[in-house]
Amino acid sequence: MMKHLLSAGDLSRDEANLILDTAEEMRSLADRPIKKLPALRGRTVVNLFFEDSTRTRISFEAAAKRLSADVINFSAKGSSVSKGESLKDTALTLQAMGADGVVCRHGSSGAPHLLATSGWMTGSVVNAGDGTHEHPTQALLDAFTMRRHLGSLEGRRITIVGDVLHSRVARSNVLLLSTLGADVTVVAPPTLLPVDMTSWPCVTSYDLDAALPKSDAVMMLRVQRERMNDAFFPSAREYTRRYGLDVHRMAQLPDEAIVLHPGPMNRGMEISADVADSTRSVIVEQVSNGVAIRMAVLYLLLSGSNQEEPTA
């Protein structure tokens, strides 16, 4: 197992499956009367959140606490960060406090990478979302949710729809799902796709209606209304008409297909309320699976010594 989790692309198929299998065990343990596990007793996990994300922070916090870790929440609001303390000084502080693991959410792409490689601190770094780069635990929980419904993702057709250009969820999902053998299609207006996607292990399309009948799972990404102010699309209404998932579009999906959304949703924008609340929707399940995935990641990164496995 690696020391940090910075990019979904760093995971081999075996490592990804190990995390998913471990999460499966973690999930069943959550049904027990005593939800605490001793694996991270005496370890300190810092939730270092430079961006507001109560959902993700709570998910990591619950995961760390169920593994008996000591959890320190360090958020930009009301801390020295808002007074201009640098990432470096924050890292040095965490190091002095003896943080074994740092869960980092940051608005700047690459900030967790910098924490991990700068030498400012020695703990493991988990990327909890960096800028418009990646959000690997979200991709893992998405894959976990899909796997529970679809079985192995090998050869499964998964369609990701929306603001791929600005989406860290999309980047991590494309990388992870292709590692797991899925056939990934991303659908978006051309303005919301990176200009050159040749190195992405997926197919791109501008036509949602063409992609839906060939999808075992469809993931709708959050699209910010304000993007239309930068001319990414003409209006929210036109976006919804061309790229939103409503009941009529959902009817084009194969019978067993499921609908995902990483949240928070813009109901009525990229997804209609009746789709979000339909039986195909696994959106609530994604949230509950988030804790199991994060337990698995924290367990695998932090429970053992960081020495390499002997090759015997």
Partner: protein
């Protein structure tokens, strides 16, 4: 992943390998498990209170076999499951992170029951200590008993087995390996110098 069939043997250095010696063959193992099944019934005056929990990997297969024998004798099956102890091990910090094995607590749970832990080899006793902690997080059994196929001695904790297939005096430089058909293609208990065995660990 944990090399569960020799989990309690410390790592070894490479050296010339003497051939492993078979100390129990398939029929020895079969007889031992039948005897253990009878002893469990005798000690607990029947199968009613008993829950069998195998410790992965090979303890789980042994628990199933004991369970089958009890069912054959009593005409009544005992709840049988598995208990992973990875997160409760006292050496968790010392080794690279490991994946979890499956924990499967039978419906009905363990509260008020007699839990019989089943493992392949009893050595230092640390695995059983971890299992006792794991049980404590799941419920409160009336009693916990321990069945092992082989007790090779060298305890490091005050733990003893209630049911033993075979007491096998060993030296610390030896490695005991249990093979079961469902995992390894054949039943056998092997012993070899730690300097090298046929073990796949």
């Amino acid at each position: 992943m944990s090399p569960a069939h020799s989990a309690e043997s410390p790592d070894v250095a490479a050296a010339p390998k003497p051939a492993p010696r078979t100390v129990l063959d398939a029929s020895d193992i079969s007889r031992a498990l039948t005897r253990i099944a009878h002893e469990i019934l005798e000690r607990n005056r029947g199968a009613d209170p008993v829950v069998l929990l195998g410790i992965p990997t090979r303890g789980v297969g042994l628990a199933r076999r004991v369970s089958d024998r009890i069912a054959a004798v009593e005409g009544q099956s005992v709840p049988t499951g598995s208990l992973d102890v990875t997160m409760y091990r006292d050496d968790i910090r010392l080794k690279p992170p490991r994946g979890l094995e499956h924990t499967d607590i039978p419906p009905g749970g363990i509260d008020g029951k007699v839990v019989v832990l089943v493992d392949d080899v009893l050595f230092s006793g640390r695995t059983i200590r971890a299992a006792l902690d794991a049980i404590g997080d799941i419920g409160r059994p009336r009693a916990v008993q321990l069945a092992v196929l082989v007790d090779r001695g060298h305890r490091e904790l005050p733990i003893r087995a209630d049911y033993v297939g075979k007491n096998l005096p060993t030296s610390l430089v030896e490695r005991v390996t249990v093979h079961l058909t469902e995992y390894d293609g054949a039943d056998a208990v092997l012993i070899a110098d730690k300097t090298g065995t046929g073990a796949k660990a």
